[in-house]
Symmetry: C2
Subunit: 515 residues, 2 copies
């Protein structure tokens, strides 16, 4: 006879979920105990739930299938919500398993009692509280299917302690997830017609369309028709580098994005939404599509965007074309003061093929992408939801998903401090992650935003809220305190040398790039 927890873990494994990022508590102890009965499930411990949920996001983006999380009641889930927000924006498949008090215990309003479903709902496409031990296996199978609905979403399964410890029959068979919706031929033909029309046009690509296959189809279409080839500002996962079609990312700053979109008569959306500014600013527009520009949707999120692009390139007679791709480049070794250019050039020289770059470099790292365009082909993972503290955890999960590929985490100092605990998991699991902290000792993006929002700024007390220099953070000490070897670089030469050494080591390491 099994208990509910055992049937749940076996069901998850049978459904293809075999990694569980965990930070358990008392109400999850039966789930934890059951790990020893199901060795196919790999449990990875995190020291804070933001590190756990962010790791599940990184894993899902790279593996293309969900990891599970194991979280402790409402407050444990709450600690993981910000990175679940980012994962929701990335449309990453994740199965949250959230322990709760025993069903009969909830009436007593014990100290940890909370509204778990209420916390889960804003970030989840599917929320179910399992009501009985004999039902939890089926609920688990449905949770995995929900998470895998194309392209992915967050499914939150709440697991009361007595459902976990009660007697249950056995695991449930996998449930087939909802596949991608096919885009009708008429839609493809209508958009082909627009593109043939010769008016100024752009393809705006995102989501599943900006991996290599979608980019190849899209680039054929853009080249054939003369359309601009644009990518959403913060894609969840973008293929780029030598041999991959070049795509121009829409700028974060609305003023710059407006320039990229100016003069367009048609904007064709491929697995993304019409562009809006990240924040509102006094007397500036929120909606960035220029007046007189028609918006057409080739593929909405949930559609088979790659199939639609393939059909579109076929309709336009471009299916066999070889679109232009990025040439490889090898910049000179950077010298002198350390800045984003030097970081980018050093990376471009040394990044191994198949690297995974997790980019939470924010303001300090904004120019690194430009200098790494010609690096060997790699994936670039962005901060999708704007909730900082994503980088270290996502890098952790990406490394779990892709052993053998080097993960490079470009991390702003302010953001690094949100979920620094992820470094400990990298050390514990000996993951090949190189973290580069771009240390400017400020919330520099806010320094810029303070003037952009038109605030009467510049006062000493306002500036103090953006300043991280008193006291100075020492990231090398912080990393070593969690078992991650670390160095500090203040010149381009030192950085290059440290990066070369870091990329040659197995396991995690960290370089504080003092800018």
């Amino acid at each position: 006879m099994m208990n509910g927890a055992q049937t749940l873990i076996r069901t998850l494994v049978a459904s293809g979920v075999d990694v569980c990022f965990s930070n358990p508590g008392t109400s999850e102890m039966h789930f934890v105990a059951a790990l020893d009965q199901v060795p196919e499930m790999r449990a990875v411990l995190g020291l804070f739930e933001g590190a756990v949920t962010g790791a599940a996001d990184g894993y899902g983006r790279m593996a293309g299938r969900p990891a599970a999380t194991l979280l402790h009641l409402g407050p444990g889930l709450a600690n993981g919500l910000a990175n679940l927000h980012n994962a929701m924006r990335a449309r990453t498949p994740i199965v949250n398993v959230i322990g709760d008090h025993a069903t009969y215990h909830k009436q007593y309003d014990a100290p940890l009692e909370s509204d778990v479903e209420g916390y889960a709902r804003p970030v989840s496409g599917w929320v179910v509280t399992s009501q009985a031990p004999e039902r939890v296996a089926g609920d688990g199978a449905r949770a995995v299917a929900a998470a895998r609905a194309h392209p992915g979403q967050i499914a939150s399964l709440i697991l009361p302690a007595d459902v976990s410890w009660g007697a249950a029959e056995g695991p449930a068979p996998p449930v087939e997830p909802q596949p991608a919706r096919q885009v009708p031929e008429t839609t493809v033909e209508a958009i082909a017609e627009v593109l043939r029309g010769g008016e100024p046009c752009a393809l705006l690509m995102g989501g599943t369309a900006v991996l290599r296959e979608g980019l190849m189809h899209g680039a054929r279409v853009a080249t054939k028709t003369g359309a601009k080839f644009l990518c959403e500002t913060f894609p969840a996962r973008l293929s780029r580098g030598a041999g991959v079609p070049v795509i121009e990312r829409l700028a974060y700053l609305a003023e710059m994005a407006a320039g990229q979109l100016a003069g367009l008569k048609h904007l064709v959306l491929v697995d993304t939404k019409a562009p809006v500014s990240f924040f509102a600013y006094p007397d500036k527009p929120s909606y960035l599509v220029p007046e007189g520009c028609s918006v057409h949707t080739l593929a909405a999120p949930g559609d088979d965007a790659v199939g639609a692009l393939s059909n579109l390139s076929e309709a336009l007679g471009a299916a066999g074309d070889s679109p232009p791709v990025q040439a490889g480049s090898q910049p000179d070794a950077p010298t002198g003061p350390l800045d984003a250019k030097a970081v980018g050039e050093a990376l471009c020289r040394m990044m191994p093929e198949g690297a995974i770059v997790v980019d939470e470099g924010n303001s300090a790292g904004v120019f690194v992408p430009i200098f790494t365009m010609g690096a060997p082909a790699h994936d670039w993972l962005c901060l999708t939801g704007g909730a900082i503290g994503q980088g270290i955890p996502v890098a952790t999960g990406a490394a779990v998903a892709c052993p053998g590929r080097r993960v490079i985490n470009l991390e702003a100092d302010g953001s690094a401090m949100y979920t620094l605990q992820g470094l400990w998991t990298q050390a514990r699991e000996n993951l090949d992650v190189t973290t580069i902290v771009l240390s400017n000792r400020a919330y520099a993006v806010l320094d810029m935003e303070l003037s952009r929002v038109g605030a009467e700024a510049g006062g000493e007390r306002a500036r103090a809220m953006l300043d991280l220099s008193r006291p100075e953070l020492d990231f090398a000490l912080l990393a070593r305190g969690m078992g991650v070897p670390a160095t500090r670089a203040t010149t381009a030469e030192a950085f290059s040398q440290q990066l070369q050494a870091a990329l040659a080591q197995s396991g995690p390491n960290l370089i504080e790039a003092v800018l």
Copy 2:
């Protein structure tokens, strides 16, 4: 002409809220800019929202009036929810100011768009989204009044960016908060009658009743009537030490609490609820009141518990009595291996009068209270809601509230890693906080709970989820990385020496007590 943000900050100050624990983002930049116009408001920067909300909790518990927080949209609030959960359980007054997108921007579903009210509701007694610049001052005054409703609650004011930057008239006058409800004489007399009856009886005290004044009244009642004198398991703030009446805290372990309550015929609740077990366990009761024991409520939360106790002692003819109080004690200097007893004895010898002890020592620290009973009078602040990661932030806020009083933070290693970022704020503000990390390199409470819940435990993979030793955390490095001087002790002698030095220094410091 002022803008909305300026009128809000001036209103907060006029209503008695002059500290704002902050982690702002772009949507809060007008609020930040306005800080330079209102120097009476002290803004304290935190590097993570859990550190911000926990500091507001510590401040509110010690100051008896709310601090404000400044949080960045839904994800920023989400990061602070776990410590708001603890603050809600502590009934701490807090005014959250949560920035949001401009009202007209929300329709565009920009990356940071989220359900801010939905996140705020589970922890807040009052939630309002301010709708216009000319209304935000009044909303602010009502938020403070809501937070100050006796004994305190969380008020969440959501501040859209355009409400912040739009033109407004001026600040609003303070609004009178709801006072404590008076307990009717008939209730007091009925309970006096029960106590006079001579059956086995206990007073169970909590909330506002376990500060010195309430304890004095309660001890008079208990002494006069022979009632047991009990305190809830995790009081928000307990007065204790030499010269303060001794009260027995109800144990965390239900088995032990059941022993404390066994044989009672009457349980009188004073600003607390009938005791329930913290978690549910198979085949063990959740409700801890023994069969045949009647429960009487002298004062429910929100009632004037101290007034009711005073009236009760009067009704019993005990008003003028001198109840027994704790004698001072000076244990011998501890020697040999470092354990909780040695930590407690060293503290008892050295703790200055008026110290504030923030206790998140969890399993490693469970015996420290026993060994510090005879220390000079002090306050003891507990983990009220069970969401770990409270200690460092609450210590930070308590130190801001009480300059001149030494704060001692007993911190478990696992819990410390949740909100370690608070150390940086302690360094930045030069707060007199001594953090003692009780380092046992495990989630030891879970080790115990794993067997208590009856899980088939002991497997290697289950145990790995409770183990913090691979790699070892070095808290001295972690503290120094954030600008806090730190040492490490492995013997009682070294700990005593380091504690003496730490308590003599101004500003923060940390001792890793390796157990």
